[in-house]
């Protein structure tokens, strides 16, 4: 059954149209990779699905779990099980990681009519998930992402995902800025969270990540449209020929060629 149906989605930022008709269906338990050069609209798609108001949806429809996703505020989407792992996790000085995550989890649980976790149960849960991500527990008492290294920030995203247990996880260039060891760690964390009732959209520029998080489907995005879809072998094909092999260029290059 389709968990997510994106139909002819158009979105713009300012006067610039970035998504020009995206159609994509993701069934429960599937992992879809979205690849594409810089400026193709990958991150925009991720942010639009999470509800960032910087982007204005100008057309199309997104049905999530039978509901109109675009009608919901970002927090409602999160409570309904949508999770975005940010490309650039935001530093929030003055808010401790622990407080933030407890507030978030209890909001999600409340929405699902589950009892809120007390401090002890929460701490036990968090410790278990931190082990999964091989994270230092000292990070819990630090302000959210503040002073974290690039790798720590990305791990913190997946750690949050492990705690919040979403139904739809959108990973926005989770591999960017990671060395190979950090990449493996993050990928292991993601793989441990794969489940028959959990779907994932993995947005990436490089095929490298997909060696570790093996997708069921790969879609290539260019100039705001999906121009090619296939199985995991499409990623390997791209690795050999590059985007240019498909006649696709970075946004700026494309503009120059036009």
């Amino acid at each position: 059954m389709a968990l997510l149906e994106i139909k002819d989605l158009h979105a713009k930022v300012g006067d610039r149209e970035i998504l020009k008709g995206i159609t994509l269906t993701v069934d429960a338990g599937e992992v879809h990779a979205i690849m594409g050069p810089n400026g193709s609209g990958k991150s925009t798609l991720a942010q639009v699905l999470a509800g960032r108001d910087l982007y204005v949806v100008t057309g199309g429809q997104v049905i999530y779990n039978g509901k109109d996703l675009l009608e919901m505020d970002p927090e409602e989407r999160a409570r309904e099980g949508v999770f975005l792992a940010f490309q650039y996790p935001v530093e929030i000085p003055g808010v401790s990681n622990l407080y933030f995550l407890k507030a978030a989890l209890n909001q999600v649980r409340k929405h699902q009519e589950l009892p809120e976790l007390d401090a002890m149960d929460f701490l036990n849960l968090v410790k278990e998930k931190m082990q999964l991500m091989e994270m230092d527990q000292a990070l819990l008492n630090r302000p959210v992402n503040t002073g974290f290294s690039g790798g720590e920030k990305k791990r913190n995203e997946i750690f949050q995902m492990a705690v919040l247990e979403p139904r739809l996880a959108i990973l926005d260039e989770t591999d960017s800025g990671l060395d190979i060891d950090a990449l493996k760690l993050v990928a292991n964390g993601v793989n441990a969270l794969r489940a028959p009732d959990r779907s994932m959209i993995v947005v990436t520029h490089y095929q490298r990540l997909l060696n570790y998080i093996v997708p069921d489907y790969v879609h290539v995005l260019s100039e705001g449209r999906i121009v090619k879809s296939g199985g995991k072998e499409l990623a390997l094909e791209l690795e050999e020929t590059g985007y240019a092999g498909l006649g696709i260029y970075d946004e700026e290059e494309a503009v120059e060629k036009a």
Binding site: P93, V95, Q160
Partner: protein, 386 residues
């Protein structure tokens, strides 16, 4: 009669109604100076953004300053003689409110920390006003004399109910090598006028830090000043939170009189509704004060379209081998941070509160007295959940 003389006439009636005091000489000098100066107007540069007309227009009855003083082991209360309050200095005093405070000097809280004493517990002074029938004016005076190499913490609290004026003057004198940590928490009623002047005179190699938290009051003006000697380190931090039609003005003045002094200043403000605030940070580096290192920062978080902040650094540097930096920011809640919190399931209103609280957090984190820090956290938490 002009408005000004009428205003002074009201105060004269109260002034002459006081019982004669051993401090009468000081009072007389104070009133004379007040009568010369009159209340400031917005034509005075120092008061440009703060209109004290509501104070000047009100006829206040003199209140007993209801002080509750807790003196810890190692410190002592001193009977104040007139010699403590230098009449010559008063006659040069440019601030009418300070002069008025002297005119109504009644039971100044004078506390001495002997040379070399290290106090375990803070000196706590709470001024409580209660004006439920008619407007009252209190003029609390606090003097803390800290001997050489002594260490102490001072906590001043101002609170009350009803419509009243608190016109407070605090003087702190720290001897050579003394370490003084000062806090003032202003939680006056929402109808109150609060005018204060805190002046610290600091000895060689003394280390002084002052934290001014302003939460209450309808019309508030705080002057905080420090005069540094050679090798002195001074910190002036502040947090002001205003909403509704509150007006909070913080003027600071740091006087680097001698070489090798260091000063840090961090004032943060949160403004909502139609509140207005002023920050004016004066730093004077005198000709002799070479190798001065001074840093001033004022950050403002403006939550509504109608709130106004006037911020101004005022640097006067007469030495040539110094480092002085200053910066002021006025901003709103960060949209990226809001979205990040919302994207994890935290509602928009809660996310705004969390970020607002976080903005104030680094001032609260600098409070070293655990019980005070806890109570501030509680106060702020409740404030942002109103």
């Amino acid at each position: 009669m002009t408005a000004a003389t009428e205003q002074i006439g009201n105060w004269l009636e109260e002034f002459t109604g006081q019982a004669v005091s051993p401090l009468q000489k000081v009072r007389d000098a104070g009133f004379q100076r007040f009568a010369e100066l009159g209340f400031p107007t917005t034509h005075d540069e120092e008061w440009r953004f703060t209109n004290v007309a509501p104070i000047a227009r009100t006829k206040f009855r003199t209140a007993q300053s209801g002080a509750e003083i807790r003196i810890p082991k190692g410190a002592e209360k001193v009977e104040a003689g007139a010699e403590l309050f230098d009449a010559a200095r008063l006659s040069a005093e440019p601030n009418a409110f300070v002069a008025l405070n002297a005119a109504f000097l009644a039971e100044p809280a004078v506390i001495r920390v002997p040379k070399g004493a290290v106090l375990e517990e803070p000196i706590e002074i709470t001024y409580e006003a209660s004006a439920n029938v008619e407007p009252l004016a209190a003029h609390p005076r606090t003097v803390i004399l800290v001997g050489a190499n002594a260490q102490c913490t001072i906590v001043e609290r101002y609170q009350g109910t009803g419509r009243y004026l608190t016109n407070a003057v605090t003087e702190i004198v720290a001897g050579e090598g003394a370490i003084v940590d000062h806090y003032r928490v202003q939680q006056e009623s929402r109808e109150a006028y609060h005018v204060s002047s805190m002046q610290a005179t600091l000895g060689r190699n003394a280390n002084f830090s002052s934290h001014s938290i302003s939460l209450g009051g309808a019309l508030v003006r705080n002057d905080a000043g420090a005069v540094l000697s050679e090798g002195t380190e001074a910190t002036l931090n502040g947090l002001y939170i205003a909403n509704g039609t509150q007006h909070i003005d913080n003027h600071t003045a740091i006087d680097h009189a001698k070489p090798h002094g260091t000063s840090h200043e961090l004032y943060k403000g949160i403004l909502d509704g139609r509140a207005t605030a002023v920050f004016n940070g004066r730093i004077l580096v005198r000709k002799d004060a070479q190798k001065t290192d001074s840093k001033q920062t004022n950050k403002n978080l403006v939550l509504s379209d109608d709130a106004v902040i006037n911020t101004k650094p005022e640097l006067q540097i007469f030495a040539d081998d110094v480092r002085c930096t200053h910066g002021a920011t006025i901003g709103q809640l960060d949209a990226e941070s809001l979205f990040y919190l919302q994207s994890r399931g935290i509602g928009r209103a809660d996310a705004r509160r969390l970020l607002t609280y976080a903005f104030a957090q680094d001032i609260v984190d600098r409070v070293k007295v655990q019980s005070l820090r806890d109570s501030l956290e509680r106060i702020l938490f409740e404030k942002f959940h109103e």
